[in-house]
Symmetry: C2
Subunit: 414 residues, 2 copies
Amino acid sequence: MTFSTRVNETRLWQSLMDMGAVGGLPHGGCCRAALSREDKAGRDLFVGWCRDAGCEVTFDQVGNIFARRPGHDTTRPAVATGSHLDTQPHAGKFDGVYGVLAGLEVVRALNDADVETRAPIDVVVWTNEEGVRFGPPLTGSSAFAGATEVAAVHASLTLDGTTVRQDLESTGYLGHERPGDRRFDCFVEAHIEQGPILEAEGRTIGVVTQIQGIRWSRVTVTGMDSHAGTTPMNRRRDALLGAAEMLVALNRLARDQDPWARLTVGRIEVEPNSGATIPGRVVFVCDLRHPDSGILDLLEQRIAGSVNDIARRSGLEVTIERFLDKAPVHFAGSLVDTVREAARLCGYPSMDMLSGAGHDAMNIARVTPTAMIFVPCKDGLSHNEAESATPADLAAGANTLLHTLLARAGVAAP
Amino acid sequence: MTFSTRVNETRLWQSLMDMGAVGGLPHGGCCRAALSREDKAGRDLFVGWCRDAGCEVTFDQVGNIFARRPGHDTTRPAVATGSHLDTQPHAGKFDGVYGVLAGLEVVRALNDADVETRAPIDVVVWTNEEGVRFGPPLTGSSAFAGATEVAAVHASLTLDGTTVRQDLESTGYLGHERPGDRRFDCFVEAHIEQGPILEAEGRTIGVVTQIQGIRWSRVTVTGMDSHAGTTPMNRRRDALLGAAEMLVALNRLARDQDPWARLTVGRIEVEPNSGATIPGRVVFVCDLRHPDSGILDLLEQRIAGSVNDIARRSGLEVTIERFLDKAPVHFAGSLVDTVREAARLCGYPSMDMLSGAGHDAMNIARVTPTAMIFVPCKDGLSHNEAESATPADLAAGANTLLHTLLARAGVAAP
């Protein structure tokens, strides 16, 4: 009875702990920047596990990994799942990794139950979701969706001064397959929520209906370096003070919009960044998110108005360049229904929700029916070594994934 | 006639240009962080010039350089002048360097005029006035004044991971003399004003009567790293946003005080400083200056109240540690009178003023009668590559220095 098939909670947890030890950090988290030595070690570990589980493993030209559990019907496109193994600098053990290892656990559970599916199942590792070591983020899924050229990915420079192509070759993950040549029946990505809502609402499964749009802009504020002791307060052109006023004003703009608007300045560079010099130049990155493109447009206008006002009042110059623009994504209705039904079948309390974070699924949704499954994480905390989730919730998400994939793949007659 | 002795304006200017080429930057400035390779090159150039001018050059245990022009009376303590050769990261050619090379030009002019003084004249280079590559600033003069232990200076770590002692050895500037063992008759430091007042008032010479007190505090703001996309605006503990509010509030506090209060945040470090992560930790340095210690106490109380209020409202923790405290300094009245008289003798319009910047002179004033001579700089600009002064004004300052030193040293009977 495939209805009663369940994943092995202990094995899933153990795999997560084993992967978390690769690039492990002192406070329980890990650091595996894409195509670094640590990321290669994590990939190698995963590939070994997949081969042990009977999967055929291939790579494409940007290092995306496809581990295939064969289906009965060789003509059907694969039902796909997965996420990423690369991490933020101070990451926990679950962001991305969970979606990959939940897919592997589905394969292992189907093996245990001796279930043959009609369609094959592909477990995918997308290259460089986080964009820490080279940019832009979501590289592998973007190439798969045709939004980024392979040549551009290969030419990208990493923080270590290598090109991505060099790293793909040296790590052994440069494949022949063109990204996107492989057709999927659908793609379902499991992930920790990375927010506080499921925990606050007491639900186990988040049925993700859409992903917020994300826009990143670089704001450059130019004043004049001068001496902290001798320059009267009213003769300064202090770029850091101007930037501080902008941060406060931009935060207020987002809060005044609606509960879905999110604005963050996480990165700032100050020149010359010396105690006794009034800073002449500040560059900060403004991360803006909302589920509605129209509201994003409106907020961008208000941001520009606000920073220009502050600059004018303060004798500063300011420029804004948008360098990342991910449109809001609505997932495929019937696939979302299947996820909701799988959670119900397994007896897990669920709720529809949207994703505040960007995910590889937002790229794959351009070319394949796509959905996501969220599970709770402690205090909504992510991009932090203290990121945490329970073995039971992680297994619930994997069971929901299992029955979603089974519903799409179909079971071959025994 | 020593009254008619004058410095060589062209030679002084040329020496300033030659020194400015050491560690030269693209926009006409230079960068010679203390005891760096560039600073060593600058020191070596200066020492060579001094030896060519007949001086005996020695170093003390913290790398302070003393170039002595012998006097007729070997029992008299030296009349001293000088400043520093190390610079800010984006410095001009004049800050500090002018005071050292004006001293050298006095020696050269006395050589040209064949004047023998009674007391010797020492031209001093104080180590690490700026405090860019290691802290605290004003290191060499502080050790000379007995306010900093030699062992503590030697153990300080530089930004390059070396100790100061290692750098003193490798650059060849580790001497045997204990800082402060040498007694001076007086110390007179010439410097560009680094502010706009002389230019605005149309005066050539600033007779400096006092230096503002300076206090540096390290403010550490702790929140929580979390995900920029998924953390609702009202559940964030954003250390950078909190720090931005503090910067705006602190600036207002200083402006509301009086025209002498100066408050600057020039240095800020953000962790993890990644685009998609709400920053969990920010450290900034608050530079506070005022001529009155009582007002400095009051402002520090208000600063603490303000940052604690903001932290409490924002769910952040904050600590303030003061790590530099230079009391306001009043210079020696009779020596200040001598400077004023020297300017009058040379026919330069002068005015009494206070210094907004800290200088080595504020340390030396603890152990020796001390004064300073300011000359105008363009637009009051300093700590900036565009820092500028005219050859005529620089020569006027050096002539005022020459006649101040002559008045103290006395002329040996021909």
